[in-house]
Amino acid sequence: MATEFHNLQELRHNASLVTKVFIQRDYSEGTVCRFQAKFPSELDNRIERTLLGETVRTLNSYYAEAEKIGGQSYLEGCLACATAYIIFLCMETRYEKVLRKISGYIQEQNEKIYAPRGLLITDPIERGMRVLEISVFEDRGSGGSSPSSTMSSGSSAR
């Protein structure tokens, strides 16, 4: 079973990477960014299906919102065209705003749900929106003492 980690810091310091699981893109609805809802079998005993499913569903909805063709995107497009696209130098597009929201969401999910289970989700934008990469960690120093423990035990209060 996965060791409990309190936070991302401990995950990075203590754990060693076992494997990476990739959730591929789902192209059944065209070129819109969507990730497959299929649960990877390697994560069967690491995380509940509903939690991962919920994360993927939320991410898909964020991407759909970013790529939605509607009133606001038309306004942005027409305004940009009218200013010979100079406005893109000063203004952040709606897509970029949503991508920042997604980064924040993934960070939050990592802290709350995935790091405690020894997993880490990489933001798809870092992988060119091709895959949703989930790194699986195993606790490195479960038996012996690690080099950093010598200085820590001296300062811990009893």
């Binding site: 063709i69 991508l99 091709r130 003492s145 690690s146 423990s149």
Partner: protein
């Protein structure tokens, strides 16, 4: 007991790292280890300028020709024809000409300098994972398997996704590999030597606006130069008019030969936009009804208006290759991934934190991560 609890809580607090520096783009890491930016190690055959902000194809000779033709023709027009026309007809003519010229130049530079939608190559872990999946599917027999394809049904139409051996990815629908730039480009239209870049998802609208406005500009200059010569001929005779304004002859020649190709190209791309196809698909006849009765374009929105709006006014996706981000320090394969927002560090001052494998990512503006004084969980267990 309660001491133990506060102990563990204290261990979860971290000392603050100061990561804010005076200049948003430069961080202490850059000065210490002189890190490379990602554009410097970009695997494709592209040229980068201005520290990675400008991206072009390798062969840019024809682009400079385009630029020279436009600048020279317009320069001659404004210098020799506009004064006469402004006086004789109306000063609105140079104004409209000026606006068109600036728009053409703006869209040309935007098309040439921006990332067309290059798909970054797969990381070694991804490539290995894909290879594993393909081997499982084929049953590893030892010899190189036939070209790998994956079929997917999009809106009722079966589309084959091809595997790109260079980029080690299954190309998304409508993506294609440009052999000149050696990159996979999303919604690949064509490689245009006149703009010195590929035309893909991110710069197609700029390209279309460029050729459309150039058509108007060419016709505008052609019409008014002819008008100029005719008005002069009324006064002094035709030959004298040509002698008085020799530049006009050059302009007429350039415009006459350009107008056919440019207006033709604009018309062709208007057709492509209204049917939501790429040049690549049209040339191959991917969605042509000649291929089969049931063959139709699954990406079309149904009506011309929506297709045009989607192509020209739809959301502009950001660049996937993060040219100005810093390269992470060398890590062995299956090293812990970085999880952060380096791309948006370039644009947002509050998130201007670059980080490497050893550093800690910044969670948000309000929260700062701190180094743990007692990083090891085993030592905590021992102290309790």
């Amino acid at each position: 007991m309660h001491l133990g609890v506060s102990e563990s809580m204290r261990e979860c607090e971290y000392s603050q790292i100061s990561t804010r520096s005076s200049t948003p783009m430069e961080t202490p890491y850059k000065k210490k280890t002189s890190k490379k930016r990602k554009w410097e190690i970009f695997p494709g055959r592209n040229k980068f300028y201005c520290g990675g902000r400008i991206m072009m194809a390798k062969q840019t000779g024809v682009f400079y020709l385009t630029l020279v033709l436009i600048l020279v023709t317009c320069g001659l027009f404004f210098t020799f024809d506009c004064p006469f026309l402004a006086l004789q007809l109306t000063p609105v003519i140079p104004v409209i000409g000026g606006v068109l010229f600036l728009f053409v130049l703006g869209t040309l530079l935007r098309t040439s300098f921006s990332d067309p939608g290059v798909l970054p190559r797969a990381t070694p872990d991804e490539a290995a994972d894909l290879e594993r999946q393909i081997d499982v599917a084929n049953g590893s027999t030892g010899y190189r398997p036939p070209p790998r394809t994956k079929e997917v049904v999009i809106n009722g139409q079966t589309v084959k996704l091809k595997y790109c051996f260079t980029c080690k990815i299954f190309r998304p629908p409508r993506a294609s590999h440009c052999s000149l730039c050696d990159n996979c480009v999303d919604r690949f239209d064509h490689h245009c030597p006149w703009v010195g870049n590929c035309v893909g998802k991110r710069n197609y609208r700029f390209f279309y606006m460029f050729i459309l406005s150039l058509s108007f500009l060419t016709i505008f200059i052609f019409a008014f130069v002819i008008t100029h010569i005719i008005l002069r001929s009324h006064r002094n005779g035709f030959l004298n008019a040509l002698k008085d304004s020799p530049a006009s002859v050059l302009e007429v020649v350039v415009c006459f030969f350009s107008v056919w190709s440019i207006v033709g190209l604009s018309g062709f791309h208007t057709y492509l936009i209204s049917s939501n196809q790429t040049t690549n698909e049209d040339i191959k006849g991917s969605w042509s009804s000649k291929r089969g009765k049931d063959n139709y374009n699954p990406y079309s929105h149904g009506n011309i208006f929506t297709n045009c709006c989607a192509a020209l006014c739809g959301p502009l996706p950001p660049s996937l290759i993060d040219r100005r981000g810093f390269v992470q320090s060398d890590t062995p394969q299956l090293a812990p991934p970085t999880n952060g927002i380096t791309m948006y560090g370039a644009t947002q001052s509050q998130q201007s934190h670059m980080f490497s494998m050893e550093s800690k990512p910044i969670v948000s503006d309000t929260e700062t991560e701190r180094l743990p004084p007692h990083p090891s969980s085993s030592s905590r267990a021992a102290s309790q």
